[in-house]
Amino acid sequence: MTADSAPQPLPAGRARQLAAEFGLTPEEYGRVLAILGRVPSLTELGVFSVMWSEHCSYKSSKVWLRELPTRAPWVIQGPGENAGVIAIGDGLAAVFKMESHNHPSFIEPYQGAATGVGGILRDVFTMGARPVANLNALRFGDPKLPLTRRILDGVVRGIGGYGNCVGVPTVGGEVNFHPAYNGNPLVNAMTVGIARADRIFTARATGVGNPVVYVGSRTGRDGIHGATMASAEFSADAEEKRPTVQIGDPFTEKLLIEACLELMATDAIVAIQDMGAAGLTSSSVEMAGKGGMGIELDLDAVPQREEGMSAYEMMLSESQERMLMILKPGREAEAEAIFRKWELDFAVIGRLTDTGRIVIRHKGAVEADIPLAPLESEAPLYRRPTAETPKPPPLDPASVPDPVGIEEALRRLVGSPDLCSRRWIWDQYDSTVGGQTVRRPGAADAAIVRIEGHRRALALTTDCTPRYCAADPEEGGKQAVAEAWRNITATGATPLAITDNMNFGNPEKPEIMGQFAGCIRGMAAACRALDFPVVSGNVSLYNETEGRAILPTPAIGGVGVIEDAARAIGLALVPGCELVLVGATRGHLGQSLWLREIAGREEGAPPPVDLAAERRNGDFVRARILAGGVRACHDVSDGGLLVAIAEMALAGDVGATLEPPPAGIPAHAFWFGEDQGRYVLAVEDGAALLAAAAAAGVPAARIGRAGAPGGALVLPGGRSISLAGLREAHEGFLPALMEGR
């Protein structure tokens, strides 16, 4: 390129003002000037502001994320690519990631959630994997508010609307309610795909002269500055940000999946990357940057949906269902034929160069010319000040008397917002398409999805207990990872790796950054102790409305594998079995749902996670499941032991008779305490299990016996609670809330 075609700089004052509007600090803007050696053009300023936004640069979180363990012998690709990749046997790999669409889902719940699903699907199939399962981790505000219902309704319709249409089963997730999410719901979507382990595609662009190819939908003025919006705190005038909403087209996504996988079966692709946040900008910058290349784009060639779009608008558009790829030379026609067959747009829009610069041309003018290395190496990176959350004192169970009795507490708990059945939600998600879903939502602690043509299956879950994280970020971080590990273990599968979605408030506040750092510390400790590395993830900060932050929410998506899907077990109780509790019970009521829902208090330390015991107990349980003789298993988490037993009984429609609690623990603390590392097993031979536990040094106790179909839970002392009544409370809450039924 020649000197006479340098980009047209903005007037200096205007550039400084716009930089601030786009979210660059004065110091960051100073770096832009230093890198370019001049004032940027509008397009250049747009590129810097989105690449250096929190969403794309991870500038506040990166230093902490580095503390997470990311390696294991089975990890093929850790964080840094579009999704993580692990080997799962038979020469196959699981490719997965979780991503947030929190802000868009607040502004327009249906489209926000739908495009969230679309985006995470692209992250997975861009690596060469066929998506085989979706999960969703949702957090909403106070269920009594009409706004909460409206958001919940739109989000669930949006997730279903997109996932059902693309034909990827939605097999699991989680839902919490808390007023802290009133103005900031969380929508975290996870996709898991399957690829051949030796056929993984990455975004590393190589080969000077190789064509840069655009495929998928046309570019419109959708969501310009969505990436910076996702990095900005909400104010009451959020309405004004509405034009940044994007519309999803799952039909086009389905065609894009098929077309990409068809092309990937050839060897024509050098590198590929979806256009997510900051669309064409981040995909082109990242691909060229990763390969140490330069890149030239000719925006006149970009397929456009609207007329008169500027270079700035095209580079920042977040139109959905688009991909960018680098092809081997001479393979354009072959690739184009495939995309045309699927009725998708296809255009060569540029070439790789050896200049190390991104050069953007539009209508004969150079609109941007930026050196790529400093764009990345000079990107802001902050070690923001942290303030530790003060450790709450442990709560003495004896200090909280039981106001209502065991029976009434159980009835209320199973019908409470955080413990009621999620059936109303999963009934709107196609969980069976693909014909491989062995355990659907509600049937097991982790969903089980078989790999077509194999006996092997994946075990999938999402978990996080935000109230624990708020009380003690480090214990909460540990617990989130441990619960995901436990959920997979409870099916008989081996937990292999996680993806995470770190949802927090404003990182410029030391107490928020302290929560972040604490959660990371806890997660890292748990990942190490459980051999459960992090292979991908996403950070969503500034989840605040008018200065009030959400609960710290590090959502964990766990993936495990079981060699023979037929050996995976569920949580439904089976008549005639003995019930054995594995793990130690101390009656920990601090931060429990019993404390919140029954005693009306949110206080105390959350239950500590003893990682050595967690590992020992879980490895023992998994071995027993695989050895046979365990008919059902459920981990003990929210709501404690009696809620876990009730969930098993309801799932199997089988009653149970329970034995008295040990002396020394108040009854309500025994039945509703949330001590960690515990499982309820329904086994054919209780004595054999207890003997094996004793030999392994694992605490275990017989706690009851399963009864007859359709029966009741019989408490020690003879009082019995009919399953029909419990079911009404458990199943009734969401339909009543959402349909007035």
């Binding site: 069976t432 693909g434 077509e452």
Partner: protein, 263 residues
């Protein structure tokens, strides 16, 4: 049973490539062809069920084709969201090139099975009467249902007794069967209602009629009994590991019928 491996090492994905039709060997019992429209997404489920019953994989045919493979004796329109379900479910697919061939095939007495989106397409193509409206709840319904066999002894229901009750999966947003009263009376009078939604005991109650269909109708037949459309997915219950084999008789019935009397 294993689907043929594709070049990506995973089972072949129909729709991604155009598989060659199964060879028309004499002892072969079923030459099925599944039509893949853009947005069809249950073709794998269907292929697995057909292969389980027939012992051989079906052919997969892209919507742009204008002819069926030689020797085809069953055409299947599978579930999904053809053309995104935009405009009306099945409306755009009903006008695609391959449908002319399907219509001619049916007119010659060929067997056609349409499930879910396939049923919607058959109605939109006027190969079956009536239409499928939005579910009465206006929500997508993904859950188990029970079906009662209203017409045994057809090529699709030969393995069931009249009145038999079986479980199926349903997964649709627009499954609310509608036809005017005269059409419904005719369907009933001629015994062309194949399946009705019912409860576990076989009662066709209002509560069991989750999508609001007229007279609990879940599936209907053409007058020659060779075209069947139904909303639920029998193909998702053909494996004990995946919830049971309640749907298998439908496919086994087809194998029986087409082995006995080729079209």
């Amino acid at each position: 049973m294993r689907a043929p491996a594709g070049s990506d090492g995973l089972p072949a994905r129909p729709g991604a490539r155009h598989l060659s039709p199964a060879p028309g060997s004499k002892e072969a019992s079923l030459n099925a062809a599944i039509i893949v429209f853009p947005g069809t997404n249950r073709e794998r489920d269907m292929a697995i069920a057909l292969e389980r019953a027939a012992g051989r994989p079906p052919a997969l045919l892209f919507h742009r084709e204008t002819e069926l493979p030689r020797g085809t004796d069953l055409v299947v329109l599978a579930g999904g969201f053809s053309y995104g379900d935009y405009l009306r479910c099945g409306a755009i697919a009903a006008h695609s090139p391959i449908m002319r061939a399907v219509r001619e095939f049916a007119a010659r007495g060929g067997h056609v099975l349409g499930v879910c989106n396939g049923f919607q397409i058959l109605c939109e193509a006027q190969m079956l009467p009536g239409a499928l409206l939005r579910n009465a709840s206006l929500r997508f319904l993904s859950m188990d249902c029970h079906l009662r066999v209203e017409r045994a002894g057809t090529p699709f229901t030969g393995r069931w007794q009249q009145g038999a009750v079986f479980r199926s999966v349903m997964a649709h947003g627009d499954g609310n069967y509608f036809a005017d009263a005269a059409t419904l009376d005719r369907l009933e009078g001629e015994g062309l209602v194949a399946f009705r939604y019912c409860d576990a005991r076989g009662e066709a109650t209002a509560e069991a009629n989750l999508n609001g269909s007229a007279r609990n109708i879940a599936g209907i037949l053409s007058p020659n009994l060779r075209v069947l459309g139904l909303m639920p997915h029998p193909e998702n219950y053909v494996d004990p590991l995946l919830g049971g084999t309640d749907g298998l008789p439908l496919f086994e019935s087809l194998v029986d019928a087409l082995a006995a009397a080729p079209a």
